[in-house]
Symmetry: C2
Subunit: 358 residues, 2 copies
């Protein structure tokens, strides 16, 4: 590893214990073992159990592995929506899910708000699935817990609630009693190399997939929910998966449990607060999201004044801090700073102090 610290919004700095677990994995021949062996089944079971414990996921949820979170958007479109979903869109990632639903020729609806503004939360009564993004990585927007509760309370019983938790897991607490499906990838909060998506689904999702299939619709193949479940019930995956990533995820989740999810979430809040305070104090940058309750706790986005992101990034890189540029059209006018569990309070304090010397 170089001596730089990656505060990029993912792929990001690897988790502090990643290299040690990787060494152990090689010693244990994890890249060579069969995905139909008992050794693999133990890895699968260990990782899913540690994730359930860390994220406080109810017993009736299943955990499945995919190639990416993009793939999970597709699998939701294929398995959980017959006619239409409703998408709360306020940035590039929430918009991508809507685009995928449309690419699967669903009659999906959208509430698109200008960036950084809250949603009106008027949900079409007939929608089958509501899609929201807990942490919109592109602009650093946080979907507050009480607004997720409001959606849960006003929606129909048959409507599924899908939460994009890609860049907030495990740093933000999610109440899985409100949620039917959530998903994340491992190169954000877990500080692992990219190449694994994690899909959490409850029993209602399985029922919906079976209903869709029984009506004569295709729900995909090796990664349809019934097929994923058939294999997961024996701690396996339908295809040869990214075994190494599943192993590493379990080990990192175990390390996080030693610290505790609550402590990680408290630390996240502290670090997020000092980054946003710095944005407020400095002349050349403002927090992009104005209302603090809507500010992401894991990806702080700063709107630049009189300086470009390339300038800020290159100055910070000289000091060994790697920051993210703005997303899409904001490439030059925003900076993005990740705040994941591997970023210590001390590193973040040093980052903030360094920003103030620019």
């Amino acid at each position: 590893m170089s001596n730089q610290i990656y505060f990029t919004p993912g792929p990001a700095q690897t988790f502090y214990s990643f290299e040690q677990h990787l060494k152990n994995a090689l010693r244990e021949d994890v890249p060579s073992i069969s995905h139909r062996s008992i050794e693999f089944q133990k890895i699968f079971q260990f990782t899913t159990e540690k994730l359930k414990e860390l994220l406080n996921i109810p017993e009736q949820f299943n955990i499945y592995f995919t190639g990416s979170a993009n793939e999970i958007w597709e699998r939701i479109a294929q398995n959980l929506i017959i006619n239409s979903s409703h998408h709360l869109v306020n940035g590039s990632f929430s918009k991508k899910f809507y685009d995928i639903a449309k690419a699967y020729q669903l009659d999906s609806t959208i509430e698109e708000v200008s960036l950084g503004n809250p949603f009106s939360l008027s949900i079409p009564i007939e929608t089958e699935l509501i899609a929201l993004t807990q942490n919109e990585t592109s602009i650093g927007f946080n979907f507050p817990e009480n607004e997720i509760s409001s959606i849960f309370e006003c929606k129909n019983d048959h409507t599924l609630l899908a939460v994009d938790a890609v860049s907030c897991t495990p740093s933000v607490n999610l109440d899985f009693n409100l949620i039917d499906t959530a998903y994340f990838s491992v190169q954000k909060g877990f500080g692992l190399p990219a190449g694994l998506g994690v899909w959490l689904v409850n029993e209602k999702c399985h029922e919906k997939a079976i209903q869709k299939q029984s009506l004569g619709h295709s729900i995909g193949s090796y990664h349809s929910l019934p097929t994923l479940k058939k294999f997961a019930d024996k701690h396996q995956t339908p295809e040869t998966p990214n075994v190494l990533a599943i192993y590493l995820l379990g080990k990192v989740a175990q390390d996080m449990l030693y610290r505790g999810a609550k402590q990680i979430q408290n630390d996240t809040l502290y670090k997020s607060t000092i980054i946003h305070q710095a944005f407020e104090e400095m002349d050349w940058v403002d927090p992009f999201i104005k209302q603090s309750k809507y500010r992401s706790r894991t990806v702080a986005v700063g709107e630049l004044k009189g300086i470009s992101s390339s300038d800020v990034i290159s100055k910070m890189k000289e000091k060994k801090f790697v920051l993210g540029s703005g997303y899409g059209s904001f490439k030059e006018s925003h900076i993005r700073i990740a705040n994941f569990p591997t970023h210590s309070k001390e590193q973040t304090e040093l980052l903030v102090d360094t920003l103030k010397t620019l």
Copy 2:
């Protein structure tokens, strides 16, 4: 790494230079770099160029990355087939592709021959895509080059030829002038951890996907051919991919180029011959495939007589050789021995000598 040698048919023994490249990748922060950075674009370009050189892939082919070869079966069903494909099936893996086409509600046809027997090669005239498996890993069947040529010569111009090259790449030469699309995964011949599929497609495939879409069919979303091409044209992927695996694949392909594909293929033939000869000479095992031209060069399958695969496997494991059991219903009655580029001639000779002492 333990002191065992994995002769399992994949995941298998890692390539001899894998650990060194992994160390370099960590030193270069490969797990942390952005998939939108120039560093990643260079990795993507390096890997696709080395693969094209190693596998002698014509310039007009594109190389795309997916989560697995299973995913590529789906992407072919979504992008390259409007009504029907024709599947030459003689084992579990060729059958899986047919099942996936049916799960996508295609009107696909099948020629299924009893295991180990050759195909009649009578292809329905109207089929849009012919699917064959160069190396049927489940039973160790090799699809001879001259039979691939025969299919090419008798098929219609508009019919695409898809070759499953999962467990034969780069050990068996494929003539890409005959093929429209081929695919493999990295945990077989490349000796890398599982979690990456590689999809090779020519211009005719792109035209077919656009035709299918223009007729109003869904061709998927982030991994549709037009989307993959849009990103690959700038050396990128639509989603955050398995960056580390793409990096490692390029480095291993480069190492293989130092040796040369021809040399690897000659060595493969030599090692395959001595394993099959041993099967013929020993009392307790016969080659499962009787005609030598149909015997896989990369996965030798032995039919056991009076001994179970668990017995053979456990005796060989004591001597540090890890062999594969039979596939599916052949679990106890077959052994499978991989013969990939990382298995040296000396290791394979030692394996054969050890088998003879059982």
